[in-house]
Amino acid sequence: MNMIQALNSALDIALEKDPNVVCFGEDAGYFGGVFRVTAKLQEKYGLDRVFDTPINEGAIAAMAIGMAAKGLRPVAEIQFADYIFPAFDQIISEMARIRYRSAGQFTQPIVMRSPWGGGIRGGQTHSMSPEAFFTHIPGIKVVIPSNPYDAKGLLLASIESDDPVIFFEPKRIYNGPFDGQADGALSSWANHPKGEVPEGHYTVPLGKAEVVREGEAVTVITYGTQVHVALAAAEKSGIDAEVIDLKTLTPYDIDTLAASVNKTGRCVIGQEAPRTSGFAAELSAQLQEDCFYALEAPIERVTGWDTPYPHAHEWAYFPGQQRFINALKKVTETA
């Protein structure tokens, strides 16, 4: 399966298994979503379980909040992550705090799904990676898969979670992995091990990272599209890098990260979002606290620039293989 099919399969199973699951979003009903993630589900489960919403992301979040408090398990789609901000107040002020402020009398089992990230020539309003904002909100989990197998298992785990999850889907790799070479041939999930996705129900645990490439020289931590770029860069560089796919940003898997950094003594963290106050900053700050005495070089961040996402020069913004290779060289050559 490609990632779209895997996500669709997860939603199909969740709708089948739990009558309280409902899916909605802009164009998510009859049409099945502009990326087809909810395709065929309205036909199968009915108008009131999979439906179109008015174009108002704040209303979508608020509707999910009310439904979840009542005992449903809404899975809401925001058409592009760039358009989640009209819902930001409902998410930070309400969804994230209702369990706390009601002392557990009301809970918020909600998943907000959204296509995320760049590399599709979408310009500044179809390319953003706004995950860092949500990692700063107590009460919210942030999940970002990097392949179809994880996408399905993490989405099912998120739907089954009793707390709100922001679930970002790297749209650049919906149809195939992407190593960051814009001019390279398009590859498909068909011939990728993580493209083998079981038909049935399974979950991938939240809060657990995965070492996707073992190595001794340096730890590379990243998530989403960048996992594939980092892997390619590791190969090309010839550096014995250990690559970790974070999968869940909050709460992040500190044990797996710290163990690796303590082993390698060097660390590179990748994110596509603008550099300042991106999630790589949190990981860097915490890892230098936990692994300070093991570190033999400064932790490097490979990130997008502190600019909006450009259109024509997308590839000058996108952190590609070369930028990872430069960082790998820098941290392994120093000291």
């Binding site: 608020a62 002020s93 009601s102 002392a103």
Partner: protein, 409 residues
């Protein structure tokens, strides 16, 4: 540069501090005039009601017209009791706040009919998403006063573990949602809840309350849009008490003659009611609840009232509006009006009223003594310190475990 003719219109109230209150410019429709359409009426049929004013109690305190809900005397007495209790409670809590017993308080004085009659016209099984000025609902639904006070003084028995500002109640058992400090957010959430009730096959109706000023928030538009699209069984109450802290209603209303009119733009049935008329509020809410339960969708109800007190204990209205406006408010005091109506019916008298006030005062004083026995914000005991790390999510992750250790609790 100095003040000049404004280059765009900035609405301002006619009267400011120092001016004598004057409401003579208002022309208020006579009680009993408004027609009561069927509960399946379309938005257009309700337009006269959205532009007019539904009133049942006339100037002689007689119930008149199609919107007289024809309630039994004991129901009226119950309503009177809840309204008096609400006022007594508010007065007491405000005093206690001034004495430093709690960090903050907000009265609903002058607006008691809005919450009490509204709640009584619904079923206790119906869901409410209130703002911070509908404590009357809790009395109608029989919440333990001691529990309410324990929340307000944030003590060891506060059911919210001291996490919320006073008056930001939550009471799931009573179908009373968690009150937010963020204005307007509850309005579209109420639609989601109402859809959830429908989804579960329940005939539960959901009501929410919002202030005149807060109708300007985007969430107001979200709520009415959702309700219109999905035909949700919701009652949208707009409490037009004419003030938003220091800002008069004209800043939110602009050229809109009423707030009820806004509902029509969404194709929703919309009513405007004398919010100080217990009978009118009851009848309008009953109409909207029946309409929602019957599957005809949402109703917007503007409650025309007046915020008699300060916005909160942090506010002093003498800085922005004339003194004693409430005394001059032509639609009077909801408690007095219902009291006089009952007296007119021969179902009540001054002596019984004094007795009632005395009894409720005593109840409130007694309740506070008990509440205080469970602690106060300043002297404690409070909910245990480690409880600040609970309920962030189902179970605390490693970060909160570490942070609790850092705090050493």
């Amino acid at each position: 540069m100095t003040a000049s003719q404004p280059r765009y219109r900035v609405p301002a109230p006619k009267l400011r501090p120092g001016d004598a209150p004057d409401f003579s410019h208002l022309d208020i429709p006579a009680a009993g005039e408004a027609k009561r359409p069927g509960i399946d009426a379309g938005w257009a049929e309700t337009q006269p009601l959205a532009l007019g004013l539904i009133r049942a109690l006339d100037h002689n305190h007689q119930a008149v017209g199609e919107w007289d809900p024809q309630l039994q005397p004991d129901v009226l007495r119950e309503g009177l009791r809840h309204m008096v209790l609400t006022r007594v409670y508010d007065e007491r809590m405000q005093k206690l706040q001034r004495q430093g017993k709690m960090s903050f308080y907000m009265k609903s004085t002058g607006e008691e009919a809005v919450s009490v009659a509204g709640a009584m016209a619904m079923r206790n099984s119906d869901m409410v998403f209130p703002s911070y000025r509908q404590q009357g609902i809790l009395f109608v639904r029989g919440r333990d006063i001691v529990d309410m006070m324990c929340h307000c003084i944030s003590n060891s028995r506060d059911n919210l573990k001291g996490r919320q500002l006073p008056v930001h109640y939550t009471w799931a058992e009573g179908n009373f949602f968690s009150i937010s400090g963020n204005l307007g957010t509850q309005f579209p959430q109420a639609v989601g809840w109402a859809m959830g009730a429908r989804y579960k096959g329940e005939d539960q109706v959901t009501a929410s309350w919002i202030g005149d000023g807060t109708t300007a928030e985007g969430d107001f538009h979200s709520a009415l849009t959702l309700a219109s699209t999905y035909q949700a069984p919701v009652i949208f109450n707009v409490v037009n008490n004419q003030w938003a802290i220091s800002t008069f209603q004209g800043v939110a209303a602009g050229d809109a003659p009423t707030f009820a009119l806004k509902g029509l733009g969404y194709g929703l049935a919309s009513l405007r009611v004398d919010g100080n008329d217990f009978l009118a509020v009851y009848a309008a809410t009953q109409w909207a609840a029946e309409r929602a339960r019957a599957g005809h969708g949402a109703t917007v109800i503007e409650h025309y009232t007046y915020r008699a007190g300060p916005h909160s204990t942090s506010d002093d209205p003498s800085g922005y509006r004339p003194k004693d406006e409430f005394e001059k408010w032509p639609l009077g005091d909801p408690i007095l009006r219902l009291k006089n109506h009952l007296i007119g019916l021969g179902e009540w008298d001054e002596e019984r009223h004094e007795k009632l006030e005395a009894a409720l005062n005593e109840l409130v004083v007694k309740s506070y003594k008990e509440a205080e026995s469970h602690g106060t914000l300043h002297d404690g005991p409070l909910s245990p310190v480690p409880s600040i790390f609970e309920d962030v999510s189902a179970d605390p992750d490693w970060r909160l475990v570490r942070q609790r250790q850092d705090l050493g609790v």
